[in-house]
Symmetry: C2
Subunit: 341 residues, 2 copies
DNA sequence: ATTAGCACTCGAAAGTAGAGAGTGCTAACA
DNA sequence: TGTTAGCACTCTCTACTTTCGAGTGCTAAT
């Protein structure tokens, strides 16, 4: 357990470093209003904190910077969320003024969040595992092309244009749509293929001429795109941070962001609530120099998605955590309001 | 008009510079197999080409680099598209193996193009000005929320989730959908609002209880999102280019890419066919250091979209132009095949 | 326990020197 | 007359050195 003095100095150093990105010396701390100690005394405390692995030096005679453990301590013990009403209101207003389209809200939130924080925002869109099929439609555009549209109970719309194989009679299409709507509506998205095989196939045999061909066709239609919607906002913000002087680092960062599969994996596994992962605590190699803060937003009992902020370990934790918490609450409320009443 | 020798040397210098990004000296040119001249002679020719503003020096005793005018000359006079079958086949195969969803094809093409060229690809999706409404649907998710789905004749699907205002009777919804499908199908997308007002409004008066409320509601539904689909691929590729040593430049570039409105403006105004815009020929300040190559792809008579490549003025023009031409042809063919037969 | 003083360390910035690539010009050559 | 070899000159790039200052740890005094 740290003494009060140690805690005060640790906090002051981290706060300072978060804003300057330069190592903090003992003199700079001792001149602070809140601290009535000489530089020498501060040096002693700093040495203690270094002994505890909460601070580091970049070289033998440099000032101190926080270690990852230091940040962790700071996040766990020091931060008392000071709510910045102004910024939260910005988000509230923007969201409420734009109740138009669900996915639009998510995107917008990402942008606003990124602007307010100057970090990169990643939003993993609604996870549809619990959704059921609300309606399915096949619309023929020409004798050779059709558009398939699937609507889920959560209001998500999936569509594909697919060429109609030769041999399938257009008149069979309507029959088919009726059968599908009769049998598949209400079925969980993830079970569609299975239900098609067990329940619908026999029916098709009776009513559809080229039922084998049609079956293969429908199978490809309902193959639900597992791929979650990913939205990344404010990528360029990361370039403002002074730790990105190096083009190699920038390249690494952007390449990482382009690997959607990896990011989805990263975000999909987050548990409920807010989580801060600092530096090497991250499992993915490419972001071991970053801090990732994730927060989930929900609809009723079903987890829907994840909002994340990605920035240097030197992050404005206080501000960011407050904002993120408030945003995911706001979105949860809003989605609940929009979709569930 | 340039002499044959001048042309040869200009071409050789540009070719070289495109790959090395370093100023080219006279000796380097004279040792080339294709050139049987001494360095001194080459120097004389180079001085002539500089006089013509086709080459530049970075400082008084440096080698030469192409000027923007030089690139322009190179693009207009020198390039004889040497088709790289291998790369074109890569694109062909990828496109043909994935005839699933129209927008998917566009995205995929952007990715492949970016990988093959190492530049940033921007694709401006289908411009739907000539499309007509194929079908409209309103699906109620709950007593308070509905999803509206619009399908166009080109197979484009637009959807929105919209809260149902209090006062609208759910039973009126079906009537409404019937009226809409009866009267709006076949109407050009851009005229929907007008037709709704002139033709549908009167009908609504007769059949719908809260027709005023419903009218406002439907109006918001059919407000077609003009916003074209923009897809940017391979952003990080630009970082490979040696001219991007400078973080400021990188920042400028990415900020520009994030300004979608600006980019859409840039690409939407392109005429048919392939167009190369070098450096200061670009109207937008932020890309005056870049070359933009655009190519349109079409469906029948209607222009559909624009594919663009953005890279340093030192660009592999030969390769890029060939690829882009072939890709837009390929996409034109494919879309024609998919949507129009 | 706290602080002032001091010698020491290290990195960042500025200055210096030399090497190398390239040019333009002149004079010789085919 | 067009081409080439030779040479002095220019400018950048790199490596090395020097200097400066911020910061530390230790010791001794308060």
């Amino acid at each position: 357990m740290l003494t009060e003095r140690q805690l005060l100095i640790l906090e002051t150093i981290i706060d300072d470093f978060i804003h300057t990105a330069h190592p903090i010396g003992s003199r700079a701390i001792s001149t602070k209003e809140s601290i009535n100690l000489s530089a020498a005394t501060v040096r002693n405390v700093m040495a203690d904190l270094e002994e505890l692995d909460l601070l580091e030096k970049t070289h033998s005679s440099s000032g101190r910077i926080p270690s990852e453990k230091g940040y962790r301590y700071y996040v766990d013990h020091v931060i008392s969320p000071t709510i910045k009403e102004r910024e939260i209101n910005i988000i509230k207003n923007i969201i409420q003024d734009n109740i138009i389209e669900f996915e639009h809200i998510v995107q917008l939130s990402a942008e606003v969040l990124s602007q307010l924080t100057n970090y990169t925002t990643i939003i993993l869109g609604p996870n549809e595992v619990d959704a059921t099929l609300k309606q399915i439609q096949l619309i023929t555009l020409s004798s050779q092309t059709a558009v398939a549209i699937l609507v889920t109970s959560t209001g998500h719309v999936e569509h594909k244009s697919i060429p109609i194989p030769k041999g399938i009679d257009v008149s069979d299409f309507e029959k088919m749509v009726n059968i599908l709507n009769d049998r598949l509506v209400g079925v969980p998205i993830v079970n569609l293929a299975h239900t098609l095989k067990t329940e619908v196939y026999e029916l098709m045999k009776k009513h559809i001429k080229e039922y084998k061909l049609m079956y293969e066709y429908i199978k490809s239609v309902i193959r639900y795109d597992e791929q979650a919607k990913l939205y990344v906002g404010g990528q360029s913000n990361i370039l403002i941070q002074p730790e990105f002087k190096d083009v190699d680092k920038i390249y690494e960062f952007f390449t990482m962001l382009e690997d959607e599969a990896e990011i989805i994996k990263l975000l999909a596994n987050q548990h409920d609530g807010l989580k801060v992962t600092i530096g090497n605590e991250n499992e993915i190699e490419a972001i071991k120099n970053f801090t990732l803060i994730t927060s989930t937003y929900k609809l009723g009992m079903n987890q829907l998605g994840t909002i994340a902020l990605l920035g240097p370990t030197r992050m404005e934790y206080r501000k960011v955590i407050t904002l993120l918490k408030s945003l995911s609450n706001e979105m949860t409320d809003l989605l609940y309001l929009t979709l569930n009443k």
